[in-house]
């Protein structure tokens, strides 16, 4: 049998999620007595959170406000448990990849350099087995993001409990992803990838190509064209300032030139992605109100001489400068690793970031950057009831234990196939011992 076909069939068999998306919220719910981490930096001990029809209708401190319990159909006592807004995993190929090593399951990159028109949302696999494991740890929203090329494509924000991609959409086509040319290119490949780098000889050429593309797209978008160009068309909302341009850059010179480039192209909504050395050029970020989606906190420093804790400290270093940032975890095995997003925030807290800001870094800040903060990112009245309850501190792996999670007020199934396998084999050994 053809190898790829073989894997494809296996993949189909292996990858169907067993979870069933939850139905619409029909009854109003009140969570009573928990410790609320609002997401905006505020913490409320002994709080009450109520929601109806998927919308948060009540947030208060029980000590300060009396709650009319009769207003709610269901009251859940969550004393000493923690309430968080649903965490958001931005810049992730979640749902676009099932098995890293099996090419047939990879749908996050298109051929060619300028692909703003390719849209991750239609490839988003709402039934990915990876997605169900991610929810279990409190990550309820994600930005499903294409990769590679100069312009990788257009991402979308999804909620993780859906029947299909249409059902999953929170914000369709939220922005275009530009991979800023790398200042360095590998010159020596070791056994496991590039080891030594040299200044990229094509750096200027790549920028020139991008500039031409942006200029042509700008000219094209100045009118409604009868003859459509799909690539330019996809740039329209970035050029007119309604959607984000995500610029992925890490070195100081890349960051500086990437931002200046976008400004020259009159792009209004710029987001820096990665930003390993962004702490060295905070003024350009501050002066231009550029938010940062910080690369994986659980990473090694780029250079041997760097502060050994640099990736752990980067969120703190940007917070100190009042730069808006959120966390993401682009890198090896990022889809499956999305479930560790809360612990990236935990580590950032260990290295100086105040706790509630750690929560914001994976909730409200992400929502603000993605442009979904009117409805998402914090537990506040009027917003979507996308939140969860954890038995303990959700940023700490040893106590992250979800008891309830809601997306738009829907109480979602947290039991994933891995727990089921665990139980199955526990049963096996019980049977043997009987």
């Amino acid at each position: 049998m053809n190898k790829f076909l073989f894997y494809f069939i296996l993949f189909c068999a292996a990858s169907l999620s067993a979870q069933k998306p939850a139905p619409k919220q029909s009854k109003s719910i009140l969570l009573k007595g928990g410790i609320l981490h609002v997401g905006n930096g505020v913490k409320i001990d002994n709080c009450a959170v109520g929601f109806k029809n998927g919308i948060i209708t009540h947030v208060s401190s029980i000590a300060e406000n009396k709650i009319n319990e009769k207003d709610f159909d269901t009251i859940i006592n969550i004393a000493n448990q923690h309430v968080y807004p649903g965490f958001i995993a931005p810049n992730n190929i979640l749902g676009l990849q099932e098995i890293e090593a099996v090419r047939a399951t990879n749908d996050f990159a298109e051929t060619g350099e300028m692909n703003p028109n390719v849209r991750s949302i239609i490839a988003y696999n709402a039934e990915s087995k990876i997605v169900e494991t991610v929810k279990t740890n409190g990550v309820l929203l994600a930005q499903t993001t294409p990769r590679y090329g100069a312009i990788a494509g257009t991402s979308s924000v999804v909620q993780l409990d859906a029947w299909n991609w249409q059902d999953a959409v929170v914000l369709e086509d939220d922005g275009v992803h530009l991979n800023w040319p790398s200042f360095y290119t590998p010159t020596k490949w070791g056994m496991k990838g590039p080891e030594e780098f040299e200044k990229n000889k094509n750096y200027e050429k790549s920028i020139d190509e991008l500039a031409l593309f942006f200029k042509e797209a700008t000219a094209y978008c100045a009118n409604e064209n009868s003859e459509k160009n799909l690539r330019f068309e996809a740039m329209r909302s970035v050029i007119n300032g309604s959607k984000n341009l995500y610029i992925r850059a890490n070195e100081v010179k890349e960051i500086t030139e990437g931002i200046r480039f976008a400004q020259e192209q009159k792009i209004k909504k710029i987001v820096l992605v990665g930003g390993k050395y962004s702490y060295l050029c905070t003024s350009i970020l501050k002066e231009n109100n550029i938010p940062v989606m910080i690369g994986r906190v659980h990473d090694l420093p780029e250079r041997a001489d760097d502060d050994i804790d640099l990736p752990f400290k980067l969120p703190y270093l940007l917070a100190k400068e009042n730069i808006l940032f959120c966390l993401q975890n682009e890198g090896d095995m990022e889809a499956m690793n999305a479930r560790n997003l809360p612990f990236l925030a935990g580590t950032a807290v260990a290295f100086g970031l105040p706790y509630e800001q750690g929560v914001s870094a994976i909730s409200l800040n992400a929502a603000k950057i993605l442009g979904i903060d009117k409805k998402h990112g914090s537990v506040e009245i009027g917003k979507s009831a996308t939140l969860f309850v954890s038995n303990g501190d959700a940023l700490d792996m040893k106590s992250n234990q979800l008891t309830f999670a809601f997306i738009d007020g829907r109480k979602i199934d947290l039991k994933n196939f891995q727990q089921k396998l665990y139980e199955k084999y526990q049963d096996k050994y019980k049977q043997q011992n009987n």
Partner: protein
């Protein structure tokens, strides 16, 4: 005297027949032209050898050989060469070159996999083993290349084809422009080696440890071959190998630690290598001195970086900066440590910089006499030709250089280089300097002539009173020509410089063609006085060498101290559990007391209040700190290779992991083949050398692997067996059956005292059968796990550990029966098909079923957060916190058979402990202090000071570099950066290779 040059300039062909060194066996066209002129260089300062200097001496040379050096007057029949003020040295000898050798080209591979050598004939199976190569046969003299050597003083070189692991014999040849037949000093002067497989297109070896194993096996094969019945196997390579063992054995290395690695092999097989090194020996100078090897050392001092752009300068590591500062001191360090060495011009970008680099080395403390020794006597000695070249003793070859200044002076350079009595003029005598002011007289007319500018390119001005005439000058030897213009008329003059250089005289033609006489008398000389040799006294400032010589290195190695950690929570990992508010005393590298209110005189007290003390983290599965590749993938079994041969103590990840509380790790071979290589079990002794990293007396382990990697599932797949899980099983049966047969053959041979071929691969497998080596096997799905246990049961061995073992939870019962432990990831999955059933509950379920279970990293990044990974077993499956901590401390210690020494806090155990700021399983916990053997190797409270120290050192050297640049030193752009990777043995990229 210039006759020879003169002829050679015309026609090389003629040279063959007119050379004084005509060859006995060659026919001669025309009357024989043999000369036996006796040359006498008189009144010179002559270095007979590096330590014997005679002033006012006479050197007699005849027939290409030295007749004598003495204070006696020259005999009457001698051709006298006045050499007053000249210094004569024996010509230099370069002990490591490829002079006249063909260029090494990497061949093209025909197939995806190449298992044996493509060399036709009865040669060795491995293409990198070619001791039969005879460089003398390959040697073709190349005058253009020879000239670059001659110009910097070399008269003879050792040349060899630098290609492969066993490279064949080298020769010592002269650098004159002659037929090859007359150029050899020795046609077989050395046998040559390296760890680099060179142009070989064969897959094996694909790693440094593979090269090491291959060389060892070659020694064994050659030993066997010498005694073997040749009708069984004829192997020209091994024959040549055996024949060349009595020659000097020259080994080229590209790294200081490879000196130690090769010296270890030499010791094992009773050999002794002369090492061609990389110029970085100063970083491991003590250990290199202990090998008692002699070295051939390059002067490849790095160029300064252009650090003017601080962002670009960010790319330069402190390691690079420190090496830039220290490298010129390398020869000095060698001298200081009494390591005998010669100096080679190898590894220089441009040979012409050799003398500048030599001067730099001398300025950096290398005594001039040592430099001379390293360039004359010692290289000759290393190659066994010190009775022919390297000194100017009677009967030795007349190879000498004539200089104006002594070695060590800034103005030292070579004027003439004589090779076997042949003269090569390197620097023509300076053109005469006629600069000055002259009284110029022509036809009773008096003018002033001023000659200035450079002595080789003078400028002339004719003037009268304040009027300057437009003038030109040209000079050729002593013939001179001027023009000057008066009233738009050009007067043309020609003439000569008379002896004494103060009178110019000649004839002039004016505008109408009339001839006149002119002369010019010097009235004021403008010759610049020779500046005093100021540079020769300039001494460079010695930099410091750190351990390792990079950021976060120690300036002095920390030592064992006695510590008393007070009032802390002690996670004992013993039946006592977690003891609150206890004290722990460590003395002499051991844990000596655990109690309340200990008092210990002299111990440094550490306040442990509100902190937690645990045993150091042990990473059962790591690939950090390895040089030259983690996979020897070319064969299904590579049991002969060992990571313990290639430990790299300079990996910054060692330090980073100490900061994560890791104190020990098993460095494993990768998972590219069913039987991988032997592992190294180390402590993270940052600052030490490779050998000292290893845990003394630890049991030997070996990596096995199953599944997608070994069957080469990705696009990297080729023809190598196995390609399926079916084949994987057969690979194991094959090696174990072969090993059993080998053992019985070996026992018979020992009993009957007959010969047998020692096979390193099967020796290792036999160790497994004899319970002297233990298996850690990379594994994923239950079928293959059961398969290996089945193979083990039927072949009567035991699997010690399944690593990764992501479906272990499905077969925990069978694992328990087999007695195998598990070392797994906390939550990795979805990276390939075979991990789709991986669950994060694996460790908990295995533990609950009584399997000793560890959490490992297989990843340099995760390794520094293994406490967090252990904490996930609390979240997934509900292990207690104590059980969770054991998965990264006591349990891996058990799996590595080291639990009597490390893994818990118990009196008598090694003081490998970590003080945490918080509950060690919390995401908020940071290792505050990490001790290995009672030595504090990481201290977070001092982290700011250490970073500051890095920065001060960095800025100091950067300022020095800027000064070097403005002082005219050549600089290089800091365009490149080096990247630290985090690898795990499943990385698909792992299979890419250079």
């Amino acid at each position: 005297m210039n006759r020879f040059l003169f002829i050679s300039a015309f026609c090389c062909f003629t040279l063959l027949f007119t050379s004084v060194k005509s060859q006995e066996t060659f026919p001669f066209n025309g009357p024989k032209n043999e000369k036996h002129i006796l040359y006498a260089f008189v009144n010179a300062t002559i270095f007979v050898d590096y330590q014997t200097k005679i002033d006012g001496a006479t050197l007699l040379v005849q027939n290409g050989k030295v007749v004598s050096v003495s204070k006696n007057a020259a005999p009457k029949n001698a051709l006298i060469i006045e050499s007053k003020g000249k210094i004569i040295y024996p010509s230099f000898i370069d002990a490591f070159t490829n002079y006249g050798m063909p260029e090494v080209k990497k061949g093209k591979r025909e197939d995806r996999n190449q298992f044996i050598s493509t060399k036709k004939g009865a040669y060795n199976w491995n293409q990198a083993i070619k001791p039969e190569i005879n460089s003398a046969e390959l040697f073709i003299a190349d005058n253009a290349s020879a000239e670059t050597f001659r110009k910097v003083g070399f008269g003879a070189v050792h040349t060899q084809a630098s290609d492969g692991i066993c490279r064949g014999t080298g020769a010592v040849v002269l650098l004159s422009n002659e037929k090859e037949n007359t150029l050899f000093v020795s046609s077989k002067s050395s046998a040559n080696y390296s760890f680099d497989k060179g142009s070989s297109t064969q897959d094996y070896p694909s790693s440094l440890m593979g090269s090491i194993a291959l060389l060892k096996q070659t020694y064994l094969d050659a030993e066997w071959y010498a005694k073997n019945d040749k009708t069984k196997e004829t192997n020209i390579s091994l024959e040549a190998f055996n024949e060349t063992q009595n020659l000097p054995q020259v080994f080229e290395v590209k790294d200081k630690y490879n000196v130690l690695r090769a010296a270890k092999i030499a010791k094992e097989f009773g050999k002794s290598f002369v090492f061609k090194t990389a110029g970085d020996e100063y970083m491991a100078i003590k250990e290199i001195a202990e090998t008692k090897s002699s070295l051939i050392v390059p002067l490849n001092f790095p160029e300064a970086f252009d650090v003017s752009d601080p962002l670009d300068a960010h790319n330069i590591s402190l390691e690079d900066l420190k090496h830039w500062e220290n490298a010129p001191f390398n020869p000095y360090y060698l001298h200081l440590n009494k390591i005998p060495f010669s100096i080679t011009s190898a590894d220089l970008k441009e040979k012409k910089t050799f003398l500048t680099k030599l001067k730099k080395a001398i300025d950096c403390g290398l005594p001039v006499s040592e430099a001379l020794k390293a360039l004359t006597y010692f290289p000759a000695k290393q190659l066994g030709v010190d009775n022919v070249v390297g000194s100017l003793k009677p009967g030795m070859l007349a190879n000498f250089i004539i200089c104006n200044n002594e070695l060590g002076s800034a103005k030292f350079n070579v004027q003439e280089n004589w090779i076997k009595g042949e003269q090569f003029v390197i620097e023509k005598p300076e053109a005469i300097d006629i600069r000055g002011k002259y009284d110029f007289v022509i036809d009773n007319n008096k003018l002033v002539l001023t000659i200035d500018g450079e002595s080789s390119k003078p400028k002339a001005t004719f003037s009268k009173d304040t009027i300057k005439y437009k003038s030109t000058i040209s000079i050729e030897r002593r013939l001179i020509n001027f023009t000057y213009v008066v009233d738009s008329k050009t007067i043309r003059l020609s003439g000569e410089v008379l002896p004494g250089d103060s009178l110019l005289k000649g004839t002039a033609i004016n505008e109408s063609g009339a001839q006149n006489y002119w002369n010019a008398k010097l009235i004021e000389s403008k010759k610049t006085e020779a500046k005093p040799d100021s540079n020769s006294t300039k001494k460079e400032e010695l930099g410091t060498v750190w351990f390792p010589n990079m950021a976060y290195g120690f300036d002095t190695l920390p030592t064992k101290n006695n510590y008393l950690i007070k009032n802390t929570s002690v996670w004992t990992n013993e039946k006592e559990g977690v003891l609150s508010n206890y004290d722990v005393l460590i003395q002499n590298g051991k844990i000596t007391k655990i109690d309340k209110n200990i008092s210990a005189l002299g111990a440094e007290i550490i306040d442990g209040k509100e902190k937690h003390l645990t045993a150091g983290i042990i990473d059962e599965h790591s690939h950090i700190a390895i040089s030259g590749g983690v996979n020897e993938w070319a064969q299904a079994s590579s049991a002969e290779v060992s990571i313990s041969d290639v430990v790299n103590p300079e990996d910054i990840n060692i330090y980073r992991q100490l900061a994560g509380g890791v104190t020990a790790a098993q460095l494993l071979h990768g998972s590219a083949n069913p039987v991988g290589g032997q592992s190294a079990i180390i402590k993270l002794r940052w600052g030490q050398t490779p050998e000292k990293m290893k845990i003394e007396g630890a049991d030997g382990f070996i990596k096995f692997a199953l599944g997608e990697n070994v069957k080469q599932s990705g696009s990297w797949g080729g023809a190598r067996f196995p390609q399926s899980r079916m084949g994987v099983e057969q690979s194991f049966y094959d090696v174990f059956i072969r090993a059993k047969e080998y053992e019985s053959k070996k026992n018979n041979a020992l009993k009957n005292k007959t010969t047998f071929r020692k096979d390193l691969e099967l020796e290792t497998i036999s160790e497994i059968l004899n319970k002297k080596r233990f298996i850690t096997c990379h594994s994923y799905v239950q079928s293959e796990i059961n398969m290996l246990m089945h193979v083990a049961d039927s072949m009567k061995f035991r699997v010690n550990t399944f690593t990764h073992i992501l479906e272990g939870y499905k077969v925990a019962d069978k694992m328990k029966n087999h007695g195998v432990g598990a070392s797994t990831f906390s939550d990795w999955w979805a990276y390939k098909f075979e991990v789709m059933d991986a669950i994060p509950y694996n460790a908990a379920l295995l533990t609950q079923q009584g399997v000793v279970t560890a959490i490992n990293s297989d990843d340099a990044e995760m390794a520094r957060r293994l406490n967090q990974e252990a904490a996930k077993t609390v979240k997934y499956g509900g292990l207690t916190e104590e059980e969770a901590l054991k998965t990264v401390t006591l349990n891996p210690a058990k799996l590595l058979h080291l639990d009597t020494k490390i893994g818990s806090i118990k009196v008598g155990k090694d003081a490998d402990i970590v003080l945490w700021t918080n509950n060690p399983l919390s995401v908020y916990a940071k290792a505050e202090k990490t001790f290995v053997d009672g030595v504090c190797l990481y201290d977070r409270t001092k982290e700011e000071t250490i970073k500051q120290k890095n920065n001060i050192e960095r800025q100091r050297i950067i300022q020095k570099m800027i000064a070097a640049k403005s002082g005219g030193e050549k600089t290089q752009k800091p365009n490149s950066k080096k990247q630290q990777h985090h690898y795990h043995c499943d990385s698909i990229e792992e299979y890419y290779y250079e």
